[in-house]
Structure formats: C-alpha cells, structure tokens
Point group: C2
Chain length 617, copies 2
C-alpha cells in the first residue's frame, strides 16, 4: 500500500486531553480521531491493528472450541428485567425507549442475551458443555470517559459465556479460557499480571483478572515481594496484625481489666489526629465510626437495628426462582480501627449492595443525633453496626459519644457495644503483610484487560434455564463468563511498546510489517522500491511504501511515529555499488544494517516469519 | 468441524411470523434466533455465511481503493444537528439522551461522522479523491419490522463515502463503486436488477439502486418488455399518452371551443366511478383533486396562495451555508387525471418535503369548505394547487365544486383555473409505455440490496468542509455515498437459492463447503470419515462432519436443510469393494456419483476450487 493512497493523517501536536502515551500516540500516528467525548473513530491504519487484535482473540477462542455468534448490540429491556439487572445495574447502563415505548439497552455485556438463546435450545445434558462468544460493540454511559479508548463510552469486547452440567466441566471451561487468555496476551506482546480471586474449590466462584500495569490504572493492585500473590485492592486481604475476637464472650473476657467506660469533653477537637494528641493516645486505639448509605441492598436485614420499617423490593424473577430481592436504601454504621480505611468495594460486597457511599451530613446528624465527627457504637440504637475485624480487637479504645464535642474512652468491644455483624472491610495497603506468605505487599496501578469468572447459577436460575440429566431430572446449568476489551488491549500494547519517537508495534499486531522509505521516489530508487514492495507482498508481507514527495527526515519521523517494525531505506548511494544494497532497521534498534538488494526481500520475510512464529507459538 | 461440537439447532417447525423462505429457512436451519421484534442473533452457522458476505464486500471495496474505517455506532447528536438531519430524519432515527443530558443517535447511516472526520483532516486538493467505508452495526427504529433480517431494526451495513475535487472524479468514484457492487452481487450468487436514476450528466445527482426480485419487496419496479429500462415506481416516468399544455396560453387556446363551465347537482354520487356513470363520461375527463398535508417542506412557498402566514424554520447551518430551511407544515391541493394515482414520493420530492400524506377529514373540510369528495381547483383560493401534467391536458373536464353534492362540468385548465405549479406526480403502472422506447412496462416487486448515490455538496456545504485548490482557492468537495445491507444480501441469497428441502448455498457464501455424512459413525466408516475430513481441511476446504448418532434419513434431511453445497456419504457397503468408494452429491443435483475414496478429497477440492473461481472471477 502506498502512503499516498491511504489516509494516515499524522500530527505533530497532541490533543490537550491526551495525558497517556497510547492516547497521544493513537492520535499523533493517525490511528484514531475523536467524534465526541468517549467516542472514537478508528482510521484505516488504526483499524488494521485493531482487526489483528480481534483476529488473535478469535483464533484463540476457536482453538478452545468456543463458538462465535452475533446477537444484537441493542438488546430488549425485557431480558434485563428477567435477570434483575434492569434495576440492579447502575447508571452506566444505557437504557432507551423506542418510539413504541418499548425498553431497550445498548449492551454493556450480554449474559441475558446468551442465556435467553441457550434457554430456548437447551434440553439435554448431551448438549453441554456449550461455550459461545461474540466480538461486538458495547456501550457504557461513563460519566467521565478518559484516556482515549482506554476508557471510552463505546468499545468492542469479546465476551464469552459457557454452560455446564457439573463443577468439573465449569472448572475445565474456566481453565481453558484462562489458558486462551494467556496466549492472547502473549501473542499481542502484552505482559499481564494475573489477579486471582479463586475460592480454590472446584466449581465455586473463582475469578481471575488480567491486568496491565498502568500509571493511570483504574485498579490498585497489591503484590507480594516474596511470593506471586497479587490482588485487586477491592478484594485484597492481608495477614492480620492483631487478634480478632470473633465471639462476644472472648471480647468480654479481654475487657476484664479495662477501666469502666468514661465520657469526656473534647471541645474543638475534630480529627483523629487532634484527638490522639489531646488524649495522648494512638490512632490504633480509636474506633472510627462512619455512617454509610447503601443502595439496593440484597443482604437480609430482618431483625437488624432500625431496619424494621424497611421494605424489600424484587427485580426480575422472585428470589425463590433465582431472582433478586433488595432494600432500595439502607444506612449502616461502620466501625474500623482509627489508622485504617474502609474498603467500600468490600463493604458493598458484604452488603450485596449496588452502591455504598458516605451518608450526607444531614443523614449523619439525623441518624447519630450529633454533627459529623461524633458518631460511635455505644448506645447507637437505630442503625445496624458493621464492625471490621480490627475494631473487634480493641478492648480499651476511644470513640465518638453521639453528642457534639463528646467522646468516650476505655471503650471495650463486646462489653460496651455489640455490633450487628463483623466482617473484613479493611483497605489493604502497601506495607501490609501478604496473606499467603507474610511477605511485604507493594502497590501497582493496573488496568483490567480481561476477566474470567465463574458465574454459577445466577443467570440460569433467574432466567429459568434448565436441562435434563441422564435420568430425566431437570437441573440448572452452571455458567461462566469471560471478557476481553479489544480497544483497551490495543491501547495497552502501545502503552507497553513505545518510546519518545512513537509506537513500537509487536510484529503480530503491527498495521504493516515493513515500511519502505525511498530517499526520493523517482528513477532507479522508485523502481527498486516498487519491486521490493511487490516481492515482499508476494511473500505475504504487509508493506507500506512511503511514496510521498517529502524530505527523508519527515518520512523517517513518521515511520518511527507509526511504529512499523521494519524500515527499509532505499537510496541512490547504496544502490550504486557493484552489489546494490538497501538499509534495514528494526524499530526496536538504533542501528540499521545493509543487506544485498538481491536477498533483501527473502531475508526480511524470513526475519518477520521468525518473529511472528515466536510470538504466536 | 464435528456437528456434535458446534451448535446447529435445526427445527422442524417454522415460526408463525415467518412468511418468506429466507426467514423460515434461517430459523429452521439454525442460522438465526429472535431476541425481540426486529432483533436477531446469528448463531454460529449463520455467522459463518454472514462473515463470508462481509468479506466479499470488504475485498471488493479494498480492490477499488476504498479505505476501511470504524466510527462508533452511537454518534453524537451534535453532528446530526449540524447537517440538519436531527430534525429532518423521520422517527426511524433512534435518538437517545445519555445521563448527562447529551443527545446521541444510534447510527442508521454515517454521512455526518465521515464528513466530520474528513473536515478536520482535509486541506489540499492533493488529498482528493478520498473514499472511505465501514462495515458496521446500524439501527432503524422500524415501526413494523418484518421478514426476519430482511427488514430488521438492527442490521449491518457497508456504507462508503467519497470526497472529490471535481465532477470527473466523482463520476469515476461512482462508476468504480457500481462495478464493485456488480462484482459483489455476482460473487454472492445474486441476480440483481439495476435501477438507475442518473441525470445522465456527469457530476449531477445520479443514483443506482440494486434490487432483487421479491414477492414481499418494499419496492415496485417498472421494467420495459422491449429495452433495459427499469425504474422504481417512486420515480418511474412513462411516455405521455396525452399532450400536456405547459403554458396557460396554450391551455386557453385549447379551451376555445369548450362550453362554459357549469355547476351541477350530484346527490348521492360519491366515487369517480359513480360520477362517471351519472354523467356518462370517462374517468379520464375527471380532474381528481386531493388535499395533501406535507411536513418539513423545503420548496419556497413565497407568494403561493394561502401561504403568506407560513414561517420558515432552519435546521443546522443556514441555507446560505448549505443548510436547510423549511416550513414545518403546509397543505396543498393536488390535481391529477381521474384514472390515475398520485405518486406521493414524486410529490414529496417535488415539494422537497420530509413526508406527505392525505389531509385529515377535518383539514379537508376546513380548507376546501366542503366534505371530502368535493374538492376542486375552481375558486380554490387558500391553498397552492399543484397540477400533474395530465390535468393540464384536460380542456373539458369534471371536478368538485367546493360544496357538498356539487360538481362542475366543462371545466378547462387555464381558462377556469390556473394552478400554482405543474409537475410530474403520476404513478406509472403496468401497461404504461416505456419513456425510452415506448415498449410496454410491467411490474415486479423488489427489495433494495444496495444503492450508490451522488450526494453532491449537501453535506460538505452544511458541515462546512473545504479544501484549497492549486491556486489556493477554497472549495467544497463533492461527495458520493454508497450502501449495501449485509443481512439483507445474505437473506436474499437464500431467497434466490433454495428449494422445498432447504437452502442451496452458492459455494462462495456457504457456511461449510462439504458435509460428510457417515451412515453410522463407528468402525471403518468413522475412520474413513475422519480421514477424509482431515484431508479436505488440509486442502483448505471447510468441512462439517455429521458425527451424531442419528438415523441416516435425519442426517440427510438436515444436510439438505442447511444447504451445504457438497454432501459425501460414507457407508460400509461402498467401502467394502476392491476399490472403496464414497458417494458425492451436489446440493443442486438429485443424483449422487460414486468416487474412488483414494481420489475423493483431491477431486472434491478441485470441483470446489473451480466453482469458487467461477463465481469469484
């Protein structure tokens, strides 16, 4: 392909909002243009790499026997109501109404669509396992789309769904998928961090996230310096640096020698730090108490303090049929040791809530009877108290006294208050100890490229999918779901493979494998360039020929920017000798080498095939 | 691929709403399932054929140098407001609002997106011509989706847009595209009727529709028995069977001997037929007068009767900048000879209106001063009158008298009334004469598969796209746009290639090229089947191996239903002889032939390659 016949509008300037390398380079190299916030058009050069990533994913899915399908991008709202996600999914779900008043969504994932199709066709265990996938457009109504296609509103995702008759089969499907994902990332030249949250048990609810390190990653990862432990901060655990007291009896016993609880005035003392100074104590003795508002809480609150008046709603099928029942809104007091932070994802998971956030000032005052800063568990009657395990270890602590400028000291867990529930809701951070080996944990920022997940029976029950076993007995199939973001994978390749001059494409996903740069596109140089291009194309190599009437410096700069793995420079001088030569340079290397023109096509094709097979093997 | 390892849920029953062969067969053969009205999921087998159609289109686009891109499916409403189509496009445009209140559309076509991208990158004539395309998801909020994917809500379209510096270049781009389309349809095995509406002049506003004949076609085509004239009824013209009088003077002269106009009572006479009986005259002497309501009329109505109070609105850029100004609503009296029908598409085109429809009874009464059935042009003051040319030839006619049970006779065009405009708004029908050769026209129903269209400057002006010519002068580029529906093309292949037993895929778009049916999948038969399958796959042939434990009859029926072009039957008896044989049958033929097993793979591969190259050449 001649540069003059394609459309590669390279830029010297960088869009103001492009703060990460892939965003900058995708614009500068003419791969991408913006249509609106979070909506991007792939230009011809960008689409070539995009399709290669897609093809690698497709090949690896096909290799493990997953079958490609194509449901629609716009999906009927009815299916989402059946599963309960019409209500349970947050505002990022793009819900639309057509002109006849029917509800639709623009698919952010497609559990419902695949489950509905399988439901209608599945009758016998003989049809299982079944693994289906699509590579198709997805949409999420992101509030703040950022970083180019790394977090866009519209994107392409490979999403796969598998259906199984037993745990062994689900486990095999899940393992196969994990292996396919590792191959996909390797073939794309991506280094991924595997973050497992397996229960260990077969069947169960295992999951594995495939992350790439990124300074702007959505995810904070905790990694162990001593072993291969890696966890998302959302779920990370750590070795305990205290002795939790899980029974009230144990807590009471530990409080035997604690002085009696004592109210104190603490005027003008606001932060935990100030309070520690005032009381000459340590934040670790403080029982921090935070009031949280939670939305769509599925946890059963029957009998919880202050929750008598709450009513459960149901979405989709009733709970008995695998559907979802939830409290639209509920408030909780959350206790944690004063030097630690509450992990809101863990809290939401514990409450089975769609969302948790700190309660408003007005709600705090209403519920705790005091301004923000003086909440505490002692005497708190109208809220369920959730204590992190760290709070349960405090037998002589300080906490708010539910009144302005008042605290309690000598507070003992179990003696002076008895929380409704205890749980692990602590945010693990760098310096904490590895839960596996006790080694020191450190942090990395990461972006999720892929996720494999054992869904279990969530959708098959909610949507009433069944099959008959050998004895004619009806069962729900268990399911797995598995996703890879194509755009994000492509952008991550650029994040990992670039330098100050531009992109450095791995050969497998390069838009072209060779760029031929004639010093001046005329005479013998033109003839040589044309012939070399033809010869390479005949050998199956993808060639870009820079036939523009530009200075060599401009062409070299563009070649580096768009990152084609091999550059061939053809000039009069090297052609003039007894054995005409051309200059070949790899994008990864500084120096070029001279090759005899007669062998150049063959040698170059050989190098490229070798590099391809190394990455693809 | 073994049948047991894929997912081909064939059906014996046909969905109740499947009235055409492709819809029925796509369901029965397990190619497609319904997610909701107008939303269909392609199952693995269907997707294979779908991708082949897509690939043929891609190859032919690439061959003519069109460059593939990928804008988003969800497009910013702002761009549609710039072009004016946000308002001008009908209700089939799926307009959505995101959670921040911003407007979007789900793309039904993408003129705006491509024009916006080119606008930002185009500076010099040297960059032109530029031809860009996408193969991507589209959405139309159809009120009545029907006939499976033939008229679904979501579909995939190849849409291309070209940009040119002069008429010759636009003409070449348009001709290239036409040739590419003819090759695409030929390669898919489709017989298309080309319906041209070229202005003939280079540049201009040519268009060509590629139709397939279909009993349920959206389009009525008029074809000439004597020459190759073919036209959509929406635009069809015919040789005139009367002498139109375009000047009022000519009309007055022709009315010289016409008796004076005379009012008559016509009690209980309602239809033109009844009136003809009552007056003992012919419908051809009747001036039928219909009151139409038109929406978003761009035709300038300054000075038209009854239009003084109408206000023009503008959409997008102002008219001076290529934008659109229109009257949101206007009414017209339309005259036509009594034996003919008004062609509403021609009328809308003449008025440059988004939509025309017969006025409501209330509006007719209000505007004509009489109940429906008594409108007429004589004395009609408060409406612009548009006369079809046929009405202009009537110099002694009958028409309504703007009062209940009253008509006029001896009405002469030009003498008794003078319409605001005359135009060709007649519906041409079978039996009319060809405008080219005078031959007899006949009708066919057709579905549009593709359309190529010279847009001219509509979008480049409205969206202010410009480039500098060699002298540094700024110009708008002219544009063409070109579409093919992928789903509809695939369904049309089935419409054209099927019999009572199922689909008969052309080799180029068959999901598999060979199906191997072992009479019983075990022992020597299984070994032979496996080996033949391997050998064929090694030769690059796509093979489906029916390894199910079903009776041969069931397997044969399914093989016929899914329509694989070559069937190989392997059975004990034929393998037992001295030279083992297998039975090969083409889906198009009744009889099978015996082939020596030793040569079967090679011969079959040869036949398939020959067939492929014949269609693809």
């Amino acid at each position: 392909m001649k540069v003059s016949q394609t459309f590669i509008p390279t830029l010297r300037e960088v869009p103001a909002d492009a703060v990460i390398a892939s965003h900058r380079l995708m614009f500068r190299a003419g791969l991408l243009r913006k249509l609106a916030n979070g909506l991007f058009a792939y230009l011809p050069l960008g689409l070539r790499s995009f399709r290669k990533v897609e093809t690698i994913i497709r090949e690896e899915m096909d290799r493990i026997g997953s079958l490609e399908m194509k449901p629609t991008v716009v999906l009927p709202g009815e299916l989402w109501k059946e599963s309960g996600r019409w209500d349970a999914y947050g505002d990022a779900l793009m819900r639309i109404k057509n002109r006849l008043g029917a509800d639709f969504v623009i698919s952010p994932t497609a559990e419902e669509a695949f489950t509905a199709i399988v439901r209608d066709e599945l009758s016998s265990y003989r049809q299982l396992p079944l693994s289906l996938y699509q590579i198709n457009t997805k949409y999420r109504d992101e509030i703040r789309p950022r970083y180019g296609v790394m977090r866009g509103r519209e994107f392409v995702m490979k999403d796969a769904y598998s259906f199984h008759a037993n745990d062994e089969s689900l486990d095999k499907g899940y393992q196969d998928m994990g292996r396919a994902y590792r191959r996909i990332f390797k073939r794309c030249g991506l280094t991924v961090i595997s973050v497992r949250a397996d229960s260990g048990a077969m069947g169960g609810s295992g999951s594995e996230e495939f992350m790439v390190e990124s300074e702007i990653g959505d995810n904070t990862l905790l990694l162990c310096k001593s072993c291969d432990y890696a966890a998302n901060v959302e779920k990370a655990e750590c070795k305990l640096d205290y002795s939790p007291r899980l029974s009230i009896e144990a807590a009471k016993a530990a409080a035997a020698s604690t002085p009696a609880i004592e109210g104190i005035d603490t005027p003008n003392v606001k932060t935990i730090e100030e309070l520690c100074g005032f009381l000459k104590t340590d934040a670790k003795t403080f029982i921090k108490t935070l009031i949280y508002r939670a939305v769509n809480v599925e946890l059963d609150l029957t009998g919880a303090p202050g929750c008598d008046a709450l009513k459960r709603q149901s979405a989709g099928a009733s709970a008995a049929k695998g559907g979802v029942e939830f409290y639209p809104e509920a408030f909780f007091a959350v206790l944690i040791r004063g030097d630690l932070d509450v992990n809101e994802v863990k809290l939401a998971a514990f409450l089975k809530a769609a969302e948790v956030s700190l309660a408003s000032e007005a709600d705090v005052t209403r519920l705790s009877g005091a301004p923000v800063g003086f909440a505490g568990p002692v005497g708190l009657k109208n809220l369920p108290v959730i204590a992190d395990f760290t709070a349960s270890a405090i037998n002589d602590g300080v906490t708010g006294a539910l009144a302005k400028d008042r605290h309690y000291k000598h507070v003992a867990y179990g003696r002076d208050f008895d929380p409704w529930k205890t749980a692990d809701i602590r945010t693990v951070k760098a310096g904490d100890r590895c839960p596996h080996c006790g080694g020191e944990l450190y942090e990395k920022k990461g972006n999720e490229l892929g996720h494999i997940f054992k869904l279990g029976f969530k959708y098959s029950k909610a949507m009433n999918v069944s099959y008959l076993d050998e004895e004619g007995k009806s069962h729900f199939p268990s399911m797995g779901c598995y996703g890879i973001g194509v755009d994000r994978a492509m952008a991550s390749v650029i994040e990992e493979h670039h330098d100050d001059d531009g992109i450095i494409w791995p050969i497998t996903v390069a838009p072209y494998q060779v760029i031929i740069v004639p010093i001046k596109y005329n005479g013998i140089v033109k003839e040589t360039a044309d012939k070399l291009s033809d010869d390479l194309e005949k050998a199956g190599i993808e060639v870009l020929l820079d036939d523009r009437d530009e200075r060599p410096g401009v062409k070299f700069k563009d070649a580096d920017l768009i990152g084609v793995p091999y550059r061939v420079v053809i000039g009069d001088k090297n052609l003039a000798g007894e054995t005409p030569k051309v200059e070949i340079k790899r994008r990864t290397e500084k120096e070029s080498r001279l090759f005899e023109l007669g062998n150049a096509a063959q040698e170059l094709a050989g190098m490229i095939r070798k590099e391809l097979s190394e990455l693809n093997e």
